[in-house]
Symmetry: C2
């Protein structure tokens, strides 16, 4: 049982399937397009599970992911980070676009639009383009209330070099919420900002711009998807300690954990050391806005029952856990990661667990 | 020039050579053994540079590193994390030990000692073992002032299953220093604790136990190595923003940077977005004990001149930089990472830069 070395990244297949089915069913019942993000897991196996075992539209965070999933047969991909307007990136996007049904890229500025148009003029290609909109996260995206944004949307829609795909936003500030009520407010802001912006565009003659939304908190807490046309959650396949803390899911919905071994026990200083350090967990501080002392993950026994221990420090290959009880050297524990996207990316291989046994090993794509 | 995609991990070969030579020369001049750590870079190329272009004794943080370097000809390796006393790890260590001149492992408890003895009894192997000592970091290691620690050292030295290699400590708390003076105090504590412990052992008849020390801050700020027999620094090959801030080095001694492209510019909210996010930089908070607003690295131009910008947030593939000036989309920047060990580990390949050009690509070993 769990015959793997430590540290290992364990994925509970049944929970992944349940998480995938729940979100997919909600999208279907809501009558919206479903384009899940694959950046959390980066595996073609889970990409298929997100679509009930088949191929379907996906969202990616790197061109490397886009190319990898395209090789496996995924033919409709949105690259949901503003594309770097350097020659190499535009060229890679154009090459991939020529091989699949659709590769949509994101822009949010006139210089980026001009860069795509210049490449189009010299290479005779047409780009599928979303306008990235800022719905309050203030990371990337245009201000949906600015006349400049309306002008940019119209310029994209009217450009002969581009096919306008619609409006895309990501309510990343939902991660900063403290509870479900706050997430619901962000969710309303997410769809509201796109809907209002779409109305501004309609008044300028650009009708029915597609509204693509998606963050795991906002898509998890709503009963159904309203005021949008497409949803793109990603983290929901795994969830994590962060999502369970802010209310996107229960701790029992988290599909992943890091298996670790106690390598040192120091009851005289109330600590144990495990072999899962910063390279096994990532140093994401998790929901420290809810609890500044949260630590670097939730320590559990092998059955994923939380233990009263806190991961107080991570160095490269050591995790330091404040433990009130003595835990013998050699004991195995499981740690629910703070941020499963970042933890998963630390591993070349995931151990796929089914009914308590490792039944497969899946390899995520890496790099950019 | 710098004809690589972003994000990329750039290694300035000339600075690495200079850093390697400086530390090696200091060890030689001090008459102590030099067993540099390879965990920061995990490449056999830099492992050789640490020994002036040849093979030599090294320190590793994982068995995967030990196996990888052994395949390249390194034959004297210390695995400097307390070994997990599970069957698979002990077996791997024993197998590797049989193939090279010496693989030393660390223990700091009687249960770990018994586990090695039990394996030895059933497999007829002898382990080379260091006793890990806590010199004030309070991570792993025995208390050097406790009679229990003396008893454990004697038990290791007298065990027929083991060859006692000596005392090993790591002053990781030097990373928490704020300046050179504080680092010097930690350095004195590091060697002092081993020297005093060795005297306790001598009074029990165990003479001349080897004292192995090493952290980049403590080994960087001292003029020469006194009161120790072996030094094991690792981060010094690259250094990073953390080391430059606390005084282990100058910023111009940092050999690595992450090349990134501006993908969004939002002067109205005083921010730019670059394509180096948490997976390109790691989320190590760096010297936030010196400056809580330090951010996730030092933003520089292509010539590594620091710019007045702060990396205020990292999501998976976005870095958000507070920028007072407009920076055009497509601009390339370089970021000196907070913690080069963790940032390097995010990359499958390092771009080796020499006189402004990428002249090679080196691949680090990954996993455990």
């Amino acid at each position: 049982m769990l015959d793997v070395s430590t540290p290992s990244f364990l994925v509970d297949r049944a929970i992944v399937v349940r998480n995938c089915e729940g979100m997919r069913a909600k999208a279907r019942a809501s009558g919206v397009a479903f384009r899940p993000h694959v950046k959390t897991h980066k595996t073609v196996e889970i990409g298929r599970l997100q679509h009930g075992g088949t191929l379907g539209p996906i969202t990616v965070s790197t061109l490397a992911e886009a190319e990898y999933f395209a090789r496996d047969g995924f033919r409709d991909i949105t690259y949901a980070v503003p594309i770097a307007t350097t020659r190499d990136k535009i060229e890679r996007a154009a090459t991939l676009a020529s091989r699949i049904d659709r590769l949509s890229v994101l822009i949010d500025s006139e210089p980026a639009l001009r860069a795509l148009e210049a490449y189009s003029a010299s290479h005779g290609v047409t780009f599928d383009v979303f306008l990235k909109v800022d719905c309050g996260y203030h990371r990337a995206g245009v201000d949906p209330e600015s006349p400049d944004s309306v002008r940019l949307a119209l310029a994209i829609a009217r450009s002969e070099a581009l096919r306008f795909q619609g409006l895309l936003t990501h309510a990343g500030h939902s991660y900063h919420a403290r509870d479900v009520e706050e997430i619901r407010r962000v969710a309303a802001e997410e769809v509201g900002s796109l809907t209002r912006f779409r109305a501004l565009l309609a008044s300028e003659g650009l009708e029915d711009a597609l509204r693509s939304i998606g963050s795991t908190p906002t898509t998890s807490v709503v009963e159904r998807f309203d005021e949008c046309d497409e949803v793109r959650p990603g983290n929901y396949v795994f969830f994590d300690a962060m999502q369970a803390t802010i209310g996107s899911c229960a701790l029992s919905d988290v599909a992943v954990s890091v298996l670790t071994t106690v390598v040192g026990s120091y009851p005289e200083r109330g600590a144990i050391i495990v072999d899962a350090g910063a390279l096994a967990l990532s140093k994401d501080a998790g929901p420290d806005h809810v609890d500044p002392q949260f630590g670097y993950g939730v320590v559990c026994d092998l059955d994923l029952q939380p233990l009263p221990m806190r991961i107080v420090a991570l160095s490269q290959e050591h995790g330091k856990i404040a433990a009130q009880t003595h835990v013998p050297v050699g004991t195995r524990l499981r740690i629910i990661p703070n941020h499963s996207c970042l933890t998963a990316a630390m591993y070349d291989v995931f151990q796929i667990v089914d009914r308590g046994r490792v039944m497969d090993r899946w390899k995520p794509v890496r790099g950019w």
